[in-house]
C-alpha cells in the first residue's frame, strides 16, 4: 500500500518535536528579580557564604525565594523589584568593595529543565533595554607612542655601542638616523638590523638610515593596544555591577561593550573613561610602620595599604609611573617559580636604571591607583571619583634594572597573571573613543517585545484561518506543522548559545510564518493537479510529495544562501534577522515536508479513498 510511514519515522518526528518543545519550554516561565554577587579582585565567592547571606537578609526582614551558587557567583532570587532594591542595598553595605553586587533578571527555569541544559532565549538589547557601545582604539597614538620609544631606544643603543650619530628624528611613523660618514652608517645598520629583527631599515640619501615597523610588528602593536583596552574595560565594567556584560573585540581596532539593563549611560561612560595608573616606589625602611599607623608619618613617606589591608610605609618620591610600561606578561622562571616580566619604554628604562642603581637589596613596592565612582554627584552633575591606592606587590631589587625586568616572589601562577593584568591595566597606551552608542530604555524594550509578540500572533492567526479555509483537512495538517515550526524555532534559538532574539529577529519569525506554508502550498497544489489528471487519491498524495520535493529544496537552499550571506556580512539588526530566517528555513523544511507527510499518512494513508479533503 502507498503512503505508509515506517515506525522509526514516527519516533524520529516525535523525538525532534519533543526535544524542541522541551528546550522551548523555559521561555514560558518568567524571570525572577535577582541579585548577583560576584567577587572583586581580591575576594572569592564560595558556596559557604550562602548561610550568612541568608541570615543577613532574614535579619533585615527580606524574603528570598532561593539562593544559589554557580560559576563563582551567588544568585539571590527575590519576589519583586522593591525587595530587590532593598536587598541590594543591604548586601552592598555588608559585603563592601571587595564584591560586586548587581541587580539582574534571572530566568525562573525549573531545576530539572536547567539540569537538562534548558534556558530561555537570550534577548537583544532592543528587547530588554540596555546600552551598546562600539569603541575605537586610537591606533595613531599607539603607533606614535611606539615610534617615540623607538627614537629613545636607538639613541641609548647606539651610545652604548659607541656608534656616533648626528641625529635621531621621528618622521611620522618612522625614524631617521643621520650619520657623519658611510662607515659609521654601515656598522650602525649592521648592528641595528641584528638587534631589531622586527624593524625594517632602508638607506636614504644624506647618510640616513630610515627605520619603520615591519608589518608583523604593526599588527602586534595594534593587537596589544586593543587587548590592553579590553582588559581595562572589563575591570571597569565590573565596577558597574552589570549582570551579564559583554566586552568583545570587533574587527581590528574596535571593541564592543554591551551592558544590559543599564539606564544611566552618562554614568556608564564616565566610569569606562576613568583612569587607572601604577607607580613604583621604594619601601621606607628607615622608619617604623607602627609609628606611622599611630599618626607619626614621616614627611618624606606615605602610608598605603596592601591587598590584605596591612599598611605599608613607602617613600613619597615616585621612582617610575605606569605609563612607561609597554608590556607585562606572567610566566615562570627555569625553576617553575611564577614571575612577571615587564618591559618599559626607553625613558622608563633610564629612570628605572637610575632609581635602582643605589637600591640593590632593598624592597620596591608597586602601587595600583584607580579612580572608583562613589555614586555621588557634584554640583555640575558629574560623578565624584574616589582615588584608591593599593600596594599590589613588594619585591626586592636583585640587580640594577633596565627597560626589561621581572618581579618574582609571587605565591602562585594566578597571582602572577593577576599582577600582569593589573600592570597592563595601569598604562593606557592608546585612548579609546565611542564611535557608536545604542541605548534602549526599559519601557521601549518591553514595548518592543509586546508589539513583536502581537505581530507574530496576528500573522499566525491570519495564516491559520486562510489555510484552513483554502485547504480544509489538509490545511489543518499544514497548520499543525506551522505551529510545530514556531515551537521548533523557539527551541533551536534557545539551544544555540550565540543566538539572540532581537526585534528584527522577531520580524524574521513573522516572515517565516508567512513563507513556511509555501512548502505545503507547493505540495498541496501538486496533489490537486495530480487529482485533476485523474490519479487516485493515494497516488496523488505520493506523487504530490515526490515531485514537489526538489522544488522546495532548491527554493529553500537559495533563500538559506541569502540568509547566510546576510549573517556573514551584516552586523547588528541584520545578523539578528538572518539568524531567525535561517533557523526558520531549516525547521520549516522539517515540519512542512516530514511532519506533514507523517500526519497525512496517518490520516489518509494505507486505505481506499474515494476523494480527498483538499
Amino acid at each position: 500500500m502507498l503512503n505508509q510511514t515506517p515506525i522509526w519515522k514516527y519516533f524520529l518526528v516525535l523525538l525532534v518535536i519533543g526535544a524542541s518543545a522541551l528546550y522551548a519550554l523555559p521561555n514560558i516561565y518568567g524571570e525572577d528579580h535577582a541579585i548577583q554577587i560576584s567577587a572583586g579582585r581580591n575576594a572569592q565567592v564560595t558556596e559557604n557564604m550562602i548561610p550568612s547571606i541568608q541570615s543577613l537578609l532574614t535579619n533585615n526582614e527580606i524574603e528570598t525565594k532561593r539562593i544559589e551558587f554557580a560559576d563563582d557567583k551567588i544568585l539571590v532570587r527575590v519576589n519583586d523589584s522593591d525587595t530587590q532594591l532593598v536587598a541590594r542595598e543591604v548586601l552592598e553595605k555588608q559585603l563592601g568593595d571587595e564584591y560586586f553586587v548587581a541587580m539582574n533578571l534571572a530566568p525562573d527555569t525549573p531545576q530539572w529543565l536547567a539540569a537538562l541544559g534548558g534556558s530561555p532565549m537570550k534577548l537583544g538589547l532592543d528587547l530588554r533595554g540596555g546600552v551598546h557601545f562600539l569603541m575605537e582604539v586610537d591606533m595613531n597614538s599607539a603607533i606614535g607612542k611606539a615610534t617615540e620609544d623607538m627614537v629613545g631606544d636607538f639613541r641609548t643603543a647606539l651610545r652604548e655601542e659607541n656608534i656616533r650619530y648626528r641625529s635621531v628624528k621621528q618622521v611620522g611613523d618612522a625614524v631617521n638616523i643621520q650619520f657623519r660618514d658611510q662607515d659609521t652608517l654601515d656598522s650602525a645598520r649592521f648592528f641595528l638590523r641584528n638587534r631589531n629583527p622586527d624593524l625594517v631599515f632602508t638607506e636614504r640619501d644624506g647618510l640616513i638610515i630610515h627605520a619603520t615597523f615591519s608589518e608583523n610588528r604593526l599588527v602586534q602593536i595594534r593587537d596589544y593596544a586593543v587587548k590592553q583596552n579590553i582588559t581595562i574595560i572589563r575591570n571597569r565594567v565590573n565596577q558597574l555591577g552589570v549582570a551579564e556584560p559583554l566586552v568583545q573585540k570587533q574587527g581590528a581596532e574596535r571593541i564592543v561593550v554591551q551592558l544590559p539593563g543599564i539606564q544611566d549611560t552618562a554614568k556608564a561612560k564616565e566610569i569606562l573613561n576613568a583612569t587607572a595608573t601604577l607607580e613604583f616606589r621604594m619601601v621606607d625602611q628607615d622608619n617604623d610602620v607602627r609609628d606611622a599607623v599611630n599618626g607619626r608619618i614621616p614627611p618624606s613617606s606615605i602610608l598605603v595599604n596592601d591587598r590584605s589591608g596591612i599598611p605599608q610605609l613607602l617613600k613619597k618620591r615616585v621612582m617610575l609611573t605606569g605609563n612607561h610600561i609597554i608590556d607585562a606578561n606572567s610566566g615562570a622562571d627555569e625553576y617553575g617559580i611564577p614571575q612577571v616580566n615587564i618591559s618599559l619604554d626607553s625613558k622608563g628604562g633610564t629612570k628605572m636604571s637610575q632609581g635602582t642603581k643605589d637600591n640593590i637589596g632593598n624592597p620596591m613596592a608597586t602601587v595600583f591607583i584607580e579612580y572608583k565612582a562613589t555614586g555621588e554627584r557634584d554640583s555640575n552633575d558629574k560623578l565624584i571619583f574616589e582615588k584608591k591606592e593599593e600596594v599590589i606587590s613588594i619585591a626586592t631589587i636583585q640587580a640594577r634594572l633596565g627597560s626589561n625586568f621581572r618581579i618574582t616572589g609571587l605565591d602562585s601562577p594566578k597571582e602572577a597573571r593577576d599582577l600582569a593584568l593589573l600592570l597592563r591595566a595601569g598604562a593606557l597606551i592608546a585612548p579609546i573613543t565611542i564611535v557608536e552608542e545604542r541605548t534602549v530604555g526599559p519601557s521601549l524594550g518591553a514595548e518592543n517585545i509586546e508589539l513583536g509578540m502581537k505581530a507574530i500572533q496576528g500573522g499566525l492567526i491570519l495564516v491559520l484561518i486562510f489555510m484552513l479555509i483554502y485547504y480544509k483537512a489538509f490545511g489543518m495538517v499544514a497548520n499543525i506543522a506551522l505551529i510545530a515550526n514556531l515551537v521548533m524555532i523557539v527551541g533551536v534559538m534557545s539551544m544555540i548559545p550565540g543566538a539572540t532574539l532581537t526585534l528584527p529577529g522577531m520580524a524574521g519569525i513573522v516572515l517565516t510564518v508567512g513563507m513556511a506554508v509555501d512548502a505545503n502550498v507547493l505540495i498541496f497544489e501538486r496533489i490537486r493537479e495530480e487529482l485533476r489528471d485523474g490519479r487516485s487519491p493515494q497516488q496523488a498524495i505520493h506523487h504530490g510529495y515526490d515531485s514537489a520535493f526538489s522544488t522546495i529544496l532548491d527554493a529553500n537552499i537559495t533563500t538559506f544562501l541569502a540568509g547566510l550571506i546576510l549573517f556573514a556580512v551584516g552586523t547588528g539588526p541584520i545578523k539578528g534577522f538572518s539568524i531567525t530566517l535561517m533557523i526558520g528555513i531549516a525547521t520549516s523544511m522539517f515540519t512542512a515536508i516530514v511532519l506533514t507527510r507523517v500526519l497525512v499518512n496517518l490520516i489518509w494513508g494505507g486505505r481506499r479513498l474515494e476523494s480527498l479533503s483538499i
Binding site: V435, G452, E525, S550, T551, D554, T558
Partner: protein, 313 residues
C-alpha cells in the same frame, strides 16, 4: 476551494514585451529618482545622534524645540514618532570628541525644566561607522546576488541564472526607487528587508524555473514560449497563495508591529508584490530572450537530482 479555475493555458508570454517595457520604465524612473532625490539615509548610514523620548501626555514639539535651542541644539529635527507622546529628536554629526555625549546632554536639557521625560532610546553613530556600514551593506547585496547567480547557474542553467538575478536586481532597484521617491528613511532594518525581498523573490523565481525545466523535459512537442506559459499557469495558484499568506503576515506586522518596524514592513510588502510580478514576467522573459530551448535543459541525465537517493519522505 480554488482561487482560480483555469482550464486552458494563460498566454503570459504574449504580454512579455509590454511587461518588459513597463519594467524598464519603472527601473529608469527608480534610477532617476535615486539620482535626483537619492535615498533618505537613516542615522545608521549618515552618523549623528537620535533620541527617542516619551512624555506622559501629548508632547509640545515647539516647546521641545525651544528647550533644545536654549541648550544650543538649534539644528535638531524634532518630530512625533508613532504616537503624540513619543518624540524623535535627530541631530547631525558634530565635530569633536564629545559627540558621544550629545544624547546625554539633550536628555539633561529636556529634563532641566523638571518635566518627567522618559528616555526610550539613544542612538549615536560616528560618521566613519556610517560610511563603513554603507559599504558593508552594498557589499552584502552584491555578494548575495553573485552567490545566487552561481548557485542557480550550477543547479539549472546560466540563462535561468541570469533571468533570476535580473529579476532580483529589478526588485531591489524598484524597491529602493520607491523609498527614494517617497523619501522614506533608509536604515539598517530596511536594508535587511530589501535582502529579505531578494530571498522571497528568489524563492518564487526558483519555483517557476523548476517547473519550466520539468516541463521542457516532459512535454516534447511545444515551443519554448508555450512551455513557459504552461509552467506559469500551473504554478500560478501557488504563486498567488504564497503571496497572500506572506502579505497577510506582513499586514499584521505593519499594523501592530509598532513604529520601529514600519519601514521594514513597508519595504517587504512592496517588495513581495514586485517580487511576485517579476518571478512571472522578468525571470522567464529574460530566459526566453536569451534563447532558452529544449536542448539546453535535456542534458545527458534527465533524472531529477536526488532520484537515486532514498526518498526523504
Amino acid at each position: 476551494m480554488r482561487l482560480l479555475k483555469i482550464n486552458s493555458t494563460v498566454k503570459f508570454m504574449r504580454l512579455r514585451v509590454p511587461a518588459l517595457v513597463f519594467s524598464t520604465i519603472l527601473i529608469i524612473a527608480s534610477l532617476g529618482s535615486l539620482a535626483v532625490n537619492q535615498l533618505n539615509w537613516g542615522l545608521d548610514f549618515t552618523g549623528g545622534t537620535l533620541i527617542e523620548v516619551g512624555y506622559p501626555d501629548a508632547a509640545n514639539l515647539d516647546e521641545i524645540r525651544r528647550e533644545l535651542d536654549a541648550a544650543s541644539f538649534g539644528d535638531a529635527i524634532v518630530q512625533n514618532f508613532g504616537s503624540s507622546q513619543d518624540v524623535l529628536i535627530r541631530l547631525a554629526p558634530r565635530e569633536g570628541v564629545k559627540s558621544a555625549e550629545v544624547g546625554d546632554q539633550v536628555m539633561l536639557a529636556l529634563r532641566a525644566t523638571g518635566k518627567n521625560v522618559d528616555m526610550r532610546r539613544i542612538e549615536f553613530v560616528g560618521p566613519n561607522v556610517g560610511e563603513e556600514l554603507t559599504e558593508q551593506g552594498g557589499l552584502a547585496m552584491l555578494t548575495a546576488l553573485i552567490c545566487i547567480l552561481i548557485y542557480v547557474a550550477m543547479r539549472f542553467e546560466w540563462r535561468f541564472a541570469l533571468g533570476s538575478v535580473s529579476a532580483l536586481a529589478h526588485d531591489v532597484i524598484i524597491t529602493l526607487g520607491l523609498f527614494s521617491f517617497l523619501q522614506l528613511e533608509f536604515d539598517l532594518t530596511i536594508l535587511a528587508a530589501v535582502l529579505a525581498v531578494i530571498g522571497y523573490s528568489l524563492n518564487d523565481t526558483i519555483v517557476v524555473s523548476d517547473r519550466i525545466r520539468e516541463n521542457f523535459r516532459k512535454i516534447r512537442k511545444a515551443e519554448s514560449e508555450e512551455i513557459i506559459n504552461i509552467s506559469l499557469t500551473q504554478t500560478l495558484n501557488r504563486t498567488i497563495i504564497t503571496s497572500v499568506t506572506t502579505i497577510l503576515v506582513l499586514l499584521a506586522l505593519f499594523f501592530v508591529g509598532g513604529a520601529l518596524i514600519h519601514g521594514f514592513s513597508t519595504a517587504l510588502l512592496f517588495g513581495v508584490v514586485i517580487g511576485t510580478y517579476s518571478s512571472i514576467y522578468i525571470s522567464s522573459s529574460v530566459a526566453l530572450l536569451l534563447g532558452i530551448s529544449k536542448e539546453d535543459l535535456i542534458p545527458e541525465v534527465i533524472e531529477k537530482e536526488g532520484e537515486d537517493l532514498d526518498p526523504m519522505i
